[in-house]
């Protein structure tokens, strides 16, 4: 027999000015099953809460309706008060008399009547509430970091330094990512390698970090705290334990004409290679696609020269299965290349390069050891044009977003050029200069004022070659849209940052949503920028959208904290407002008929299959089962289920039905 207590709050005069609170309490008090009904000036105050706690004990209440403000405001407050009064907190409901009644209506009888209706519907609802216990989910305290760029490195180190195990997976042969390709970094112009390589080494040596390079994610199953991840370790074709990384094989490999990925195609590498001298791990891999042995069946020069006999041509890929508690996705970004731009010659002009290629040219470890030389003939360009927003902010090219980093690195490029080629002329075409960030605008001003970089506000319509020079045709919108023509030796396009290749496939494996540009989607653009909509999977860095290094590192640390917080307890506690598929004894087991249409509506992949079997293992029936760890309680499956076999705690069919009836009928 239900014994409901109703507590009507005046909220000072916020409610009582238009609603006759006394009358509400009195009318509701006459309802069947209402054991106690009262009104009070400030229900949320300490004495107010005491009234509730005392009444729970005194009247042996089985449910409480606090008729006050919005539950979005004070539901946690009153649920806590009920718990302190000895009542299960989920047996407390709120009737919203302030935001939805007293504040939006005039003072009259109708308003008070509406208030009574609202309270009554909550009384009817709370009668059907069940005492719920928070859900406990065990947590495996090992994190997986996907991608070994600066974002992944930062996250992995932060998590590992909190004392948790980390597995890092990187698909290329070395960690380091794009940052390892950069020459110098804005706005301080410190050498990228100098600040990055110590961290790469730290990752390799950290006792809590297991590093798998040349490896990819095969599949991900499970849920927060309990992921089961399969990793494919691609065959490096050598025994890493024996290999000393002497590099002799890489110098003797007869195949030397493979475009070097690390040098953005501006240099060549052999088929057995270490991507760059500071690579971590500093061990070569054989690129089977280009290796003569794998193509023609003979060669094996590397095997012959290897002093430790570490080459293993028949090494297979290896699949590892790991138990993981949380995942940080830090797969980074790619950039569009010059061939994306019809108006700039579809990539046919050698001296039109992209920003990353310029980084390699400017890098002391690059193909020109830091000299700015144009690719076509190795001459020092006397006149260089930088084009910002190449592809970005251009809906016609399908990329409406700002790539964020280009304004800054273009200023840096122009500056680096001027520092190296003093007599040279640098021009920058830009749409707007977006230099928000600590010391960023000062940096751009320095390029313009101290290094005399010629900034032209306008777009470049076309570039073509004539007599070995690049004719850059653009417009200067600050000079009344005057056409500008620059005869350049080299052009650098600050091309749009795009999602890393394979991002879509990975997102699908992780069941994480992504936007139309294949960037991973955050759970909330402002308040949950690090979380994804799949609990336990977090984002770091440019896999979410193009970001500079400081932003990437900050977010990576943010993601690490989320993981550390999750790992701070051995069990995870969740609100029990989740869906459940009913169960009964044999032979029914459940009224669920196993059509699994609910599976496709669930945004969280929370619906699993459960088989009921005979003793000899024959399947009698397969029905749906909600994974409480994943369910977020939206209830879309509940409304879809034809046989009404799924119900949602806190918003059960019975409860909402009772609410509708109670709102419309006086008793």
């Amino acid at each position: 027999m239900a014994r409901i207590g109703v507590f009507v709050c005046h909220c000072g005069e916020n409610i009582s000015a238009t609603v006759d609170c006394g009358k509400v309490a009195e009318t509701i008090g006459k309802l069947k099953h209402v054991a106690y009904s009262t009104d009070y000036k400030y229900m949320c105050s300490d004495p107010g809460q005491t009234i509730i706690k005392d009444a729970i004990k005194e009247h042996n209440l089985t449910g409480v309706v606090v008729s006050a403000c919005s539950p979005r405001m004070h539901e946690p407050t009153f649920r806590k008060a009920c718990a302190e009064g000895g009542l299960n907190p989920f047996l407390c409901e709120m009737a919203n008399l302030r935001e939805h009644c007293s504040w939006v209506h005039e003072k009259n009888d109708l308003t008070t009547e509406k208030a009574i209706d609202i309270v009554r519907s909550q009384v009817e609802k709370v009668k059907l509430n069940s005492a719920l216990q928070p859900i406990k989910v065990p947590v495996t305290r090992t994190a997986l970091v996907i991608g070994g760029g600066i974002a992944g490195i930062q996250s992995a180190l932060d998590i590992a330094n909190c004392g948790h195990k980390v597995v890092m997976v990187e698909r290329s042969p070395s960690i380091g990512g794009h940052m390892s390709q950069l020459s110098e970094t804005f706005p301080t112009l410190d050498c990228s390698q100098c600040i990055l390589t110590p961290r790469m080494v730290e990752v390799a040596q950290h006792p809590n970090i297991t590093l798998y390079t040349y490896a990819e994610i095969e599949s991900v199953e499970g849920f927060i705290g309990n992921f089961k991840v399969k990793i494919r370790k691609k065959a490096k074709s050598l025994d890493e334990k024996i290999c000393t990384g002497c590099g002799l094989c890489t110098t003797k490999c007869p195949q030397k004409k493979i475009p070097n990925e690390f040098e953005q195609g501006m240099g060549m590498r052999p088929a057995i290679y270490i991507p760059f001298p500071q690579a971590v791990p500093n061990r070569p891999v054989i690129d089977r696609e280009h290796c003569t042995y794998y193509i023609k069946g003979k060669c094996k020069v590397c095997e012959i020269v290897c002093p430790t006999k570490a080459i293993r041509f028949d090494q297979p890929d290896e699949i590892l299965e790991l138990e993981i508690g949380a995942i940080v996705v830090s797969t980074g970004f790619d950039i569009k290349h010059a061939d994306f731009f019809p108006e700039y010659g579809y990539g046919k002009y050698k001296d039109i390069i992209d920003g990353l290629q310029f980084e390699r040219l400017a890098s002391a470890s690059g193909p020109t050891t830091g000299a700015i030389l144009r690719p076509s003939d190795g001459q020092v360009p006397k006149n260089i044009v930088f084009i910002a927003c190449a592809g970005s902010r251009d809906p016609a090219k399908g990329i409406a977003y700002c790539s964020k980093i280009c304004c800054m690195y273009t200023a840096k490029h122009a500056m680096l050029y001027k520092h190296k080629v003093h007599e040279g002329k640098a021009h920058v075409f830009y749409m707007d200069i977006r230099s928000g960030g600590k010391n960023y605008d000062e940096f751009v001003r320095r390029a313009i004022e101290e290094d005399h970089v010629n900034y032209i506000r306008g777009r470049v319509s076309t570039i073509y070659e004539r007599d070995g020079k690049l004719i850059v045709k653009g417009v200067d919108t600050l000079l009344g849209a005057q056409p500008v023509e620059i005869v350049a030796d080299m052009v650098v396009l600050a091309t749009a940052g795009i999602a890393s290749s394979g991002a879509e496939e990975l997102a699908q494996k992780l069941h994480v949503s992504y936007d139309s540009h294949k960037f991973f989607a955050e759970a909330h653009p402002k308040l949950k920028p690090v979380e994804t909509n799949t609990a336990g999977i977090f984002l770091a860095g440019a896999c979410q959208n193009p970001k500079d290094i400081p932003d990437t590192v900050s977010q990576a640390s943010g993601a690490a904290v989320k993981v550390a917080a999750l790992f701070s307890q051995s069990e995870l506690t969740r609100e029990p407002l989740v869906a459940a598929v009913n169960r009964s004894g044999p032979p029914m087991y459940s009224t669920c008929v196993g059509c699994f249409l609910c599976q496709s509506v669930c945004p969280y992949q929370a619906i699993e299959r459960e088989d009921f079997k005979t003793r000899d293992g024959k399947i009698i029936k397969t029905v749906a089962k909600i994974n409480e760890g994943l369910c977020q309680g939206c209830g879309t499956c509940v409304a879809l289920c034809r046989s009404k076999s799924i119900d949602l705690q806190g918003y059960s069919n019975n409860q909402v039905y009772a609410e509708v009836v109670a709102l419309l009928n006086e008793y």
């Binding site: 019809p342 010659g345 579809y346 076309t462 073509y464 070659e465 004539r466």
Partner: protein
Amino acid sequence: MKFGIYPGCSLTGSARDYNESVFALAEAFGLEFTQVPDWNCCGATAAHNLNKELSLALPARILALAEKNGLEEIIVPCAACYSRLVVTRHELKKDPELKNRISEVIEMDYRGTSKILNVIEWIDKYITPKLDEKLVKPFNYKVACYYGCLLVRPNKVLGYDRAEDPQTMDIVMRKIGAETIDYPSKTECCGAGLSISRTDIVSKLSGKIIEDAEHRGADAIIVACPMCHSNLDMRRPDINKYWKTDFKIPVLFVTQAIGLAIGLSPEKVGLKRHFVEVKIS
């Protein structure tokens, strides 16, 4: 298969050379045309500046006539006519209500079933496959392929070739033995219809196109549009006067070049009608 041809005004007037070369090619390859009966003006550049419905009704009538006469494909050698016909088909396809209105205006049922081919599409489909066997006199010249504006733009509507640095004509020319140069002026404006009213502007713009071709060592400019041809060829004296130059580079229709390569006589493909002399070695 019954082909239609829509000659438009220029092929029967100022671009008879073009017309002759198209028919000469067709004859050489055993292809027959039926002229769209009772055809009218495509509206060209004038109509769509004045009245949108008129600019759609004129080409729609041509297309409806083609459909009515069972012409599944019509070749439209003039790039301007081609553009108007394709744009009309596009506009009427996306707006059924407009289509009905236009059908009422032209008092004919327009369905949009006839396929519209520009001259290069036609060559690609019917000439190229048999070109090798007929090639007797490879066109051993360095050529600048000039596409002009209407053959490839608006790219979203035409969906033909690349908007910047188109390639289809280059590919055809290479097939008959020509060397095509990297030519950034391919789609620059020739001045088009300003030919009559502002010859000075045409002289300036077309002059740049010619200069670029000569500068890059081309022996000839190849075109597929009668307007481009008349501006680059007929206006040559004005151009040379404007720029104080003496450009001598000839301008050939792509059909003329192919005709020569398969051994047709210069007269047969209308070369004698040009203003700038075409010297054949």
